[in-house]
């Protein structure tokens, strides 16, 4: 179909111009003129006839309106009329206003205006719509051609009606395609330039409406409860007020374009809202707002459908497939952009969380006074925090730090173990933790802990060790104190138990002792003259009663921590007294006594009876350990230890350190010894290795307590040759 772009001046008008100019020609040429006129008129008629014929042959339709006194008086409809409008020219002639009615309502004013302009002498083409007799909408181009008399008045005009429906449709498609492209371009620009999600969604809707020609565009996101929440919109106001859309299939509001697009992850187009049951929940609303067309496109963030973008138009079938494919591309771009924004936000959140966590870690480390370090396992060099330097005794950090330098600071006694555990950790990749001592530049010894974790580099090699370090000197000191006080507490509890027991036992034991004592005195009195042996036995009995009483008294004293009655004594005489007291037991077991006592011992300040008791206990134990005979060796000597490394007066659990000298007594037996696993328990109350009825389990407990009360020490060990060796040390008194 050809498109008529312009109309040339009509031949008629041309001829009139010629006539006007010919009127002033010479009269003598009149005859010639009249002949010419005749010929010309003939040519004119022929031309007019050709013209009409020509017009009749085109598929378009021509009408002619005759004008008289500025009024249209008759209209002629050409044969093409039926072709274009569906109505015959006869129908048009018979129905005066049919031409007006067939014009599309919306264009009637323009058509009437054009007709009025033609009558007034001004012709301009008009494109408008008509309703074809078959009811279809057609676009026509109406091109008027004016005919004027010699006074310039319009006597008639022709209108050339050309069907331009197909062209119009093509133009509309192009326009729509351009709109779709404009949406795509506008949205792509927005995606590039707008980093904020909400602003981007707003802009997308705005572009769809302003550049895409849609009446309404909005974006909804799926909430956890599967309702669709409006997050951005542009265009028509009111339609979305209070609207309910869900993504579930089990509700009508979920089976519309939006719900379906979200649920099925595909674009959904409603070509005509009026006739599509899927729009049932909203069709009244759509009608009220004049919306006929809707297309919804799923929006995916990270491959998961999270919402939908939809556009509305007032015309059914607003977009064809080509345009839709562009819009699908748009929705893909939106998804891409939102995913990127989400990922950026996620990255930012992660980075912020990391920064936050690093900050918190730094605060925590500082609060805990923990230093941190990073050691490059290849170069063996390290970076470390200020606190790290302070822990190692440097107010200002050293310019460089390395593993070797670190090891130099480790206390020599701990160095090998620290290095070993560190190297093992590097080799195995296991975490490293160690508590050890360091020596600071000012020579102070500090306890620290250090831990580290091996980090592999990209190639999987162990490239780095990250770690922390803290000063635990105070903790170590406190632990030692705690351990000591716990030991003290345990001992105190033991003693209290013994004390309660001893008090209970004392009364019960002392009564039989009192009877025995009195009975002995009675017997001594009533018996006739006795020989030496009987007298000896009676004396031994008296001694035994005395010893039993002393044990009870000693036990009570010991448990009650009674004050000692210390006096300077010769320790040798104490030993001799004790050996005498076990003489009977010794001879019963055929135990030989070997004494080697230093006669030049300085005096020791002791409670004689208590220390005698201690020795008796030790001797008795040894004798009991040798039921088939053996040797009990007792040696005393004077010792002046020189131990300048220890503070005078300081004590430890296994010994004491004094500035002055002390007296040592060693007791050795050739008995059965103490099973190694029992050695740690020998001082426990009621612990005994003796057969039932033989020992009380209190002997060594009492003995140790007595020695401790004197500030002395007692060590008991198995001898390599068999039997045990007990070593007692008493502080020697320097007599001024």
């Amino acid at each position: 179909m050809s498109v008529i772009r312009d109309i040339s001046p009509s031949p008629l008008e041309k001829e009139e111009g010629i006539l006007a100019s010919s009127a002033i020609r010479d009269i003598t040429e009149r005859k010639q003129f009249e002949e010419g006129l005749k010929r010309t008129m003939g040519e004119l008629q022929e031309s007019e006839s050709r013209y009409r014929h020509l017009l009749a042959s085109v598929t378009d339709y021509i009408y002619t309106v005759k004008i008289s006194e500025g009024q249209a008086v008759s209209t002629f409809h050409g044969p093409g009329c039926e072709n274009v409008t569906g109505y015959t020219s006869k129908e048009c002639v018979n129905d005066t206003y049919l031409w007006y009615r067939m014009v599309h309502e919306g264009d009637r004013d323009a058509v009437v205006r054009q007709a009025a302009m033609c009558v007034a002498g001004k012709a301009a083409p008009l494109e408008h719509r008509i309703i074809h007799k078959d009811g279809s909408l057609r676009w026509v181009r109406n091109t008027p051609v004016l005919h004027k008399d010699d006074k310039g008045r319009v006597t008639e005009y022709d209108g050339l009606i050309t069907d331009i429906t197909e062209r119009k449709q093509a133009e509309e498609r192009i326009a729509q395609l351009n709109r779709a492209r404009a949406i795509l371009g506008g949205i792509d620009r927005a995606i590039v330039h707008i980093p904020d999600q909400q602003e981007l969604l707003d802009e997308i809707c705005r572009v769809a409406v302003e550049q895409g020609g849609f009446k309404l565009a909005w974006i909804g996101m799926v909430s956890p409860d599967e309702s669709v929440r409006l997050v951005a919109k542009a265009g028509l106001t009111g339609y979305l007020d209070g609207i309910r859309v869900v993504a579930r299939h089990d509700e009508p509001e979920g089976r519309g374009p939006v719900g379906t697009a979200i649920r099925e992850n595909r674009p959904v187009v409603i070509e005509d809202i009026d006739s599509d049951s899927r729009m049932a929940p909203w069709d009244d609303r759509a009608r009220q707002f004049g919306l006929r067309y809707v297309a919804a496109f799923p929006i995916r963030i990270k491959d998961k459908v999270t919402g939908s973008f939809q556009v509305y138009a007032q015309l059914a079938g607003f977009f064809d497939e080509n345009e839709l494919s562009l819009l699908i591309q748009v929705s893909g771009d939106i998804s891409f952009a939102l995913t990127a924004i989400e990922e950026t936000a996620e990255l930012e959140r992660t980075e912020a969380a990391l920064r936050n966590s690093e900050h918190r870690l730094r605060l925590a480390l500082e609060a805990a006074q923990i230093g941190d370090w990073e050691l490059d396992l290849v170069s063996q060099t390290a970076c470390r925090s200020l606190r790290h330097g302070q822990i190692f005794g440097y107010a200002d950090p050293l310019p460089e730090w390395s593993y070797a330098l670190f090891l130099k600071h480790v206390h020599p006694e701990d160095r090998a173990r620290v290095d070993h555990s560190f190297q093992e950790s590097v080799a195995t990749g296991r975490n490293w933790y160690f508590e050890f001592r360091i020596i600071r530049p000012d020579q102070t010894v500090r306890w620290i802990w250090a831990c580290g974790s091996v980090i592999k580099d990209d190639s999987g090699q162990r490239g780095q060790m990250l770690g922390m370090v803290g000063d635990i000197t105070e903790r170590k000191v406190a632990e030692e104190k705690l351990r000591e006080s716990q030991m003290l507490l345990i001992n105190t509890e033991k003693m209290e138990t013994i004390g309660r027991l001893a008090a209970g036992v004392a009364h019960e034991v002392k009564n039989p002792l009192a009877i025995s004592r009195m009975s002995l005195d009675y017997l001594s009195h009533v018996l006739p003259e006795v020989d030496g042996t009987v007298a000896g036995v009676l004396k031994d009995m008296g001694d035994a009663i005395g010893r039993a009483d002393t044990i009870i008294r000693g036990l009570l004293d010991f448990s009650a921590a009674e004050e000692l009655d210390p006096k300077p004594e010769d320790l040798n005489s104490v030993i001799e007294k004790a050996t005498l007291m076990v003489k009977h037991d010794r001879s019963m077991n055929h135990v030989q006594l070997v004494t080697n006592l230093d006669r030049d011992l300085p005096p020791v300040v002791i409670d004689r009876n208590k220390v005698v008791q201690a020795f008796v206990n030790l001797f008795t134990n040894s004798i009991d350990a040798m039921p088939d005979g053996g040797t009990l060796a007792v040696r005393s000597y004077f010792e002046q230890p020189s131990n300048p490394g220890k503070d005078p007066g300081s004590r430890s659990l296994d010994g004491f350190y004094v500035d002055d000298s002390h007296v040592v007594v060693e007791i050795e037996d050739s008995g059965s010894g103490i099973p190694p696993d029992k050695l740690s328990k020998i001082f426990d109350p009621f612990f005994t290795t003796k057969p039932p009825g033989k020992g009380t389990g209190l002997g060594l407990t009492v003995t140790q307590k007595i020695i401790e009360l004197h500030g002395g020490s007692l060590e008991i060990n198995n001898r390599p040759e068999g039997g045990i060796r007990s070593v007692l040390k008493f502080q020697a008194t320097i007599i001024q």
């Binding site: 009564n511 009877i515 005195d521 009483d549």
Partner: protein, 124 residues
């Protein structure tokens, strides 16, 4: 005239041997009493010159007995020597507070030690 001694102690073995010993050694007239509840009655009847009194006894202890004796107008002036198996200074101190400065002898005591304390007490 023989000195009369009343020994009050729930331990019959002890009172018996003390009686025997004191009687052979010093010819005292010794009366044993193992039930401290009878103390006042027996003391009134026997009229001892001195009473040897155990402290730790079941039901009625030496302190209670001493209080009864001191509350009795007849017996209140009779000297009392405490003979006790309790040797812990703290406990003795506690009982001393109750009995008010009585002499005391710790078990086991030798015959000589006991006689010495009795004589000393009788002399005052």
């Amino acid at each position: 005239m023989k000195r009369k001694i009343l020994i009050i102690d729930d331990e019959a073995g002890f009172t018996k041997i003390v009686k025997l010993t004191l009687e052979v050694k010093k010819s005292y007239d010794v009366r044993e009493l193992n039930n401290p509840a009878m103390a006042v009655r027996v003391a009134r009847e026997f009229s001892p010159d001195i009473i040897l009194l155990d402290i730790v006894m079941p039901e009625l202890d030496g302190g209670d007995v001493l209080a009864q004796l001191r509350a009795d107008p007849v017996l209140r002036r009779i000297p009392v020597l405490l003979v006790t198996a309790t040797v812990r200074k703290k406990e003795v101190d506690e009982h001393k507070g109750l009995i008010g400065g009585e002499l005391f002898v710790a078990k086991p005591v030798s015959a000589e030690g006991l006689i010495e304390s009795i004589e000393e007490h009788l002399a005052t």
